[in-house]
């Protein structure tokens, strides 16, 4: 059945019967806890990705690797991060993969990809909360493209913590990316509060509570200061 499914994968495309590849879905569930069987399945998927498959079939493989992919699948996925038609589904597999090699692949791709693909990679780095990427992401806060600067700010907000907060505080954002930088600072303050680092969180909130900020931000900062006070109290 599984052999037939991999054979069907070669002809899989939008409009073909999903049932033909369903044994691969079943194998993903059935091999839970069976390292050798998982490795074999992963190898077959990676090999298939290197063959001549439709875009739909390649996407299907990435969906499966998102669940079972390991470091062994990273090179094949990483090579797709710069391809406009394939970058998203490569991230689909890499973003939630526990292997540190997956994080490294995203970090390596960041300076190489451009435009929307860079925004996508930033989004995945943020979702992984990859602290090792803070320096590289911070460098994009001043990118000439406001969309990229905004994405970098949101990524730092998702990563959270003191180092992200420091990078955001030091940023000189453009008018269009400034709201994202402030939002990310608030997110960092919340992460610090969750880590019981009320002092650092309070510093961020105080820096955002002044009259130079808009009402929405001042209220958010005031709310944060009250939260800090109640935790300290």
């Amino acid at each position: 059945m599984l052999d037939e499914a991999f054979e069907a994968l070669k002809k899989f495309d939008w409009g073909t019967d999903v049932a033909a590849v369903a044994p691969i879905d079943d194998a993903v569930a059935a091999t839970h806890g069976q390292a050798d069987a998982r490795r074999d399945l992963e190898q077959r998927l990676v090999a298939a990705l290197g063959g001549k498959l439709s875009r739909d079939a390649q996407d299907y493989v990435c969906r499966k690797l998102a669940i079972i992919g390991t470091a062994a699948a990273v090179p094949a996925l990483a090579s797709r991060l710069g391809a406009p038609h394939h970058s998203h589904m490569a991230r689909f597999a890499l973003e939630r993969m526990p292997a540190p090699e997956a994080a490294q692949a995203l970090r390596d791709a960041l300076p190489k990809v451009t435009g929307d693909l860079k925004i996508g990679v930033l989004s995945s780095i943020g979702a992984r909360r990859d602290k090792a990427a803070i320096a590289a992401v911070s460098g994009l806060l001043s990118d000439n493209d406001p969309s990229i600067a905004t994405a970098a700010a949101h990524a730092l907000g998702a990563i959270g913590g003191a180092k992200s907060a420091q990078a955001l505080a030091a940023a000189r954002p453009s008018k269009s990316s400034k709201p994202a930088v402030i939002d990310a600072q608030l997110a960092c303050a919340e992460s610090l509060l969750a880590e019981k680092n009320e002092a650092e969180a309070m510093k961020i909130y105080q820096s955002l509570a002044g009259d130079h900020q808009g009402r929405l931000v001042r209220l958010a900062a005031t709310r944060g200061m009250l939260a800090c006070a109640s935790k300290q109290g």
Binding site: T16, P84, H88, E95, R96, S123, A127
Partner: protein, 408 residues
């Protein structure tokens, strides 16, 4: 299909558009003046709608008919839908003031709007809700509020960060289940041991063939953060079908019947058992003669079954002979059902009946179920950490990468 240059262009165009919109003066029209039948504009909640087809049309009607709402914007990626929605508003107010938008960011960038209702496909809910909060808008978001587990805390976090009123949908949670809710909250059934929810089907991969574009739709915007796929009218149909004829059936856009009707049925079950503020700590995968079903285990000992064999929907197992002290049943605030509840809370800054945190707790049940069925095994869930403890495989399904350039 190359997207990069097109989407970058759209984003830049948006920035220009937004800048222009913010700079434009806000003209007070004759409708802004109140009379004996209607409060003045300064006392009305100024609203816009995002996603106006099907359910969104119903939501629009509910808000538009309120005297304390001034409806000023419609947004939909389908040209015909947004033009019809604009016409509905203009007919109601006897003017041409309602603005029609293709891009939700234009609506959220408008300083004159207080609140939005969102009835896009589910894969857009979290992005738009979070962005709305960042822009200081209150939000009524249709159910199911989330597509993934990770989206829930992000939506709740944005609401709390900016002090926004964010209500989930499902008018049925309070409206349809009173015959179960009332005796339980009155203490007549004693301690509730279990409740069963029957809802189907699970979401599936959409592999429909490409079709010629049969409508004026911004396809890239419809897909948004979902994986790229060719246009097919069933793929993007907003009909209420959950059996393959609408986006509600497909995993890239929805959790299937498990989330779509699950928002109602699980929502009603959790309300009945007064565990709206809790999330399960484990899901057990069972098989009965080859047919799978689930049991969710709550920290207070309650078991919520899903599709328990030979068991009716909302079947309750209480404690015979035991009576508990009655509790007052929570109700909507204001007048006009769940919509009135939201508007009242926008005015008072209270939390609505379907506060986003409670709505997310319901969605979590559906998502945990979908993951358990997909992996065909039992799961543990740490609600505080929002993760499956020690289960790297399941943790991969907590979220999914969004298609560029979309992020939360």
């Amino acid at each position: 299909m190359p997207m990069s240059s097109k989407q970058s262009s759209t984003r830049r165009d948006f920035l220009k558009t937004t800048g222009a919109a913010v700079a434009a003066p806000y003209v007070i029209t004759s409708t802004a003046l109140g009379n004996s039948q209607r409060p003045p504009a300064s006392d009305r909640i100024v609203m816009g709608g995002i996603g106006i087809g099907n359910m969104g049309r119903g939501d629009q009607g509910a808000f538009l008919n309120r005297k304390d709402v001034q409806y000023v914007a419609v947004c939909d990626v389908r040209k015909e839908v947004r033009e019809k929605a604009k016409a509905t508003v203009d007919d109601r107010y006897h003017n041409k003031d309602c603005q029609a938008h293709n891009d939700f960011r234009e609506v959220l960038g408008r300083a004159d709007i207080d609140a939005v209702h969102i009835a896009t496909p589910d894969h857009w809910h979290a992005i738009i809700t979070v962005e709305a909060c960042r822009n200081g808008k209150d939000v009524y978001c249709q159910k199911p509020e989330t597509l993934t587990l990770r989206e829930g805390p992000l939506m709740v976090g944005a609401a709390r960060r900016y002090g926004r009123v964010v209500s989930g949908g499902s008018q049925r949670v309070l409206g349809d289940y009173r015959k179960y809710v009332d005796p339980v909250w009155a203490g007549e059934l004693g301690t509730i041991k279990s409740i069963n929810v029957n809802v189907n089907p699970l979401p599936k991969l959409c592999n429909l063939p490409p079709e010629p574009m049969a409508e004026t739709i911004d396809w890239e915007m419809w897909l948004g953060p979902a994986p790229w796929a060719p246009y097919n009218s069933k793929r993007c149909s907003g009909s209420f079908s959950i059996n393959g004829s609408s986006w509600r059936s497909f995993s890239d856009y929805s959790g299937g019947g498990m989330t779509d009707w699950g928002a109602h049925h699980f929502g009603g079950a959790l309300f009945t058992c007064d565990v709206r503020d809790l999330q399960p700590e484990a899901v057990t995968f069972h098989e009965n003669n080859g047919t799978p079903y689930l049991s969710y285990h709550y920290p207070n000992g309650l078991i919520v079954y899903h599709n328990k064999p030979k068991t009716e929907n909302l079947a309750i197992e209480g404690t015979p002979g035991e009576k508990l002290t009655p509790k007052p049943v929570p109700m909507y605030k204001g007048e006009g059902g769940i919509y009135g509840d939201f508007i009242q809370c926008v005015k008072t800054r209270e939390r609505p009946f379907r506060d986003i945190e409670l709505a997310v707790n319901t969605a979590v049940v559906s998502h945990l179920g979908n993951i358990a069925y997909q992996l065909k095994r039992s799961l543990k869930w740490d609600a505080a950490k929002q993760e499956f403890p020690g289960d790297a495989e399941a943790n991969r399904l907590v979220d999914r990468a969004r298609r560029e350039p979309w992020q939360i």
